[in-house]
Amino acid sequence: MKSTLMVGALLTAITTTGAFAQAIKLADVAELSGGGATVGTNWKNGIDLAIEEINAKGGVLGRKLEVTHADSQSNPGVARAQVQKALDAEPYVLLGPGYSGSVKVTAPLAAEAGITQIMGGEAAELTQAGNKFLFRTSFGQQSSMPKVAKYIHDDMKAKTVAVVWVNNDFGRGGRDVVIKELERLGSKVVADLSTEAGQADFAADVGKIKAANPDAVFVYLNEEESARILKELKRQGVTAPLMGETTLIGQKVIELAGDAANGARGHVGLTTDAPVDLIKGFRDRFSKKYNYVPDHNGLKGYLAVYMVKATTEKMGKVDSKAFADTLHGLTIKAADEPGILMDVTFDQNGDIDRQSFLVEVVEGKQVVKQVLPKVK
């Protein structure tokens, strides 16, 4: 009896001192196939790179990070099932998905389980539903679209604009905000074109844009469709300047569209071409590991893991229940946590405040034209 008690006490002492510290388990649900495969693959690779780096330096509070990846197939229904399965395993934090439609249907599940969800979705409505467990890794449309509309009106001097958007939560959310802002500024929307996710043929849509003869075209589609429409715009000889937000001028789009991407402009919250040393370092490490240049989704996945690290170290303990409360209102400085790449502040809704960039594609490369500072 005495020896049993002694063994028990010894085991307790060992586990609390961390000699056998359990790994911190994260769950990731991402678009690893389907229309969002580019998004999900970049996101996953960013996560894996961050975890590899953190574990190589001893982990978080002496504990290693572990992640399980599940494929949402870019389908909200599948995403919901995968998130439920991931939550049943009681992860410390849930990462993903990247598609707004999938975030919309999975966020209530994570909130109900009391698990923080750090995701890649950008639809404005996601963080406006009072969910206290949901956090962004990039700007929401309510932050980015006013900047886009202002650029179209002030810098492009466009009096008439064609707006092409993808008919899903991401596209609709962006379209609603940008049209409202354009009209408020006095630019007239002369074509408002809805397209389908996964659409291959954009000849008719581009035909409509040509017929409307706008001063500028705002393109808000997912990555692959962005590449296809850029090719079609070039094929039909549309010369109006093109403006996008994040996806249009992403690395994968540039690679797929080739010459057709040249001249496209866009606002990006994150870009691997940013004139920031820490981001350049990330880009080099990522490219070395995966043999391709990441897009903003690679950055998002990477930052999600460093958000977990910084928040946990701020708490000084691994506590999934207190995680969201700690992250609300938290400012993480790149000087203290280089993995966060740029100073960032999270508000009470889970939205972020961070500097952003206006870029143009020049000879197949993103070139940063302006750096927009943090709002607060």
Partner: protein, 291 residues
């Protein structure tokens, strides 16, 4: 008016590719009662074979030749020997279901061994415009249209003006009588499969630069070509050509003048209307069946 011209040209270019794929549907049906539901995936795969060759360091022209040869071997010879011949004796429906399974298999294999992401694909036609009747028309649209027309013209010439083509038609129309008069029916059927494989490889080469190379890109194409073949007439090559062009143009005009949201429904509605009023298709031949 300018917009209508652009839409017609783009629709004709897309329709010409649908026609190439639809012709394959009708050829296989006529010679071996095979409804190949993997036809869309047959168009998707050659592009990846060519990309794989280029990744291995082959120049583009060599990758094209290799891709076409591999396509004819895998999607023509192997498809017939390993799937169609063993399944044929069980009837049309089991064979059709087997081709559905094949479609899933090809799609998943490409996703697994190549990538789930889209890849760019070089075009055999240079970019740029030429002026036609005062309208700027892209070289790519013209190139796709010309190559597809040449392929269809070559095929119809082969079928209608050569001894080989006559033998193929005889084998398709009445294999028993064809055998009696000395036509090597089995060889003719194999030739049909090889021609189909060549046509899908050509379609792949033409459409992938526009649609990008992706494991799932065969779904839309296969469905459109199937509708085109039924609309035109499943037992007539000329019907498949007409159906393909018609669906391509109709799809573009519907997206522009009806609704982009309902564009996918328009060919379907058209298909239902055709089946209701002319079940054999617009140019098809009514077939009698003993019951």
């Amino acid at each position: 008016m300018s917009n209508l011209f652009d839409l017609l040209v783009a629709g004709l270019a897309t329709g010409a590719i649908y026609a190439l794929v639809a012709v394959g549907f009708t050829l296989l049906w006529q010679t071996s009662q095979t409804i190949n539901f993997a036809q869309g995936e047959f168009v998707m795969l050659p592009a990846f074979l060519m990309l794989a060759a280029m990744h291995a360091g082959a120049p583009f022209w060599f990758a094209i030749i290799l891709g076409i040869l591999l396509s004819m071997t895998l999607l023509g010879l192997a498809f017939k020997m390993l799937l169609v011949d063993p399944m044929m004796r069980h009837g049309v429906l089991p064979l059709a279901i087997a081709t559905m399974a094949l479609a899933i298999g090809i799609k998943e294999a490409v996703k697994q061994f190549f990538s789930a992401e889209a890849s760019s694909f070089p075009s055999i036609v240079p970019t740029g415009d030429i002026s036609i009747l005062g309208h700027a028309v892209s070289l790519q649209s013209i190139g796709v249209l010309v190559v597809a027309i040449l392929a269809v013209f070559g095929l119809t010439t082969l079928l209608n003006r050569t001894s080989l083509g006559h033998q193929m038609q005889a084998a398709a129309q009445n294999p028993t009588v064809a055998r009696i008069i000395g036509v090597p029916v089995e060889r003719m059927i194999l030739l049909t499969f090889l021609i189909n494989a060549f046509l899908v490889a050509l379609a792949s080469l033409l459409i992938t630069p526009i649609y990008l190379a992706k494991f799932s890109s065969g779904e839309v194409l296969g469905q459109a070509a199937f509708i085109a073949a039924i609309v035109g007439g499943f037992n007539q090559v000329r019907g498949a050509i007409a159906g393909g062009v018609l669906i391509g143009v109709l799809d573009n005009l519907a997206a522009a003048y009806v609704s982009t949201q309902y564009r996918a429904a328009v060919p379907m509605i058209f298909l239902i209307v055709v089946i209701l009023f002319r079940p054999q298709g617009l140019l098809g031949r009514a077939e009698e069946r003993t019951v």
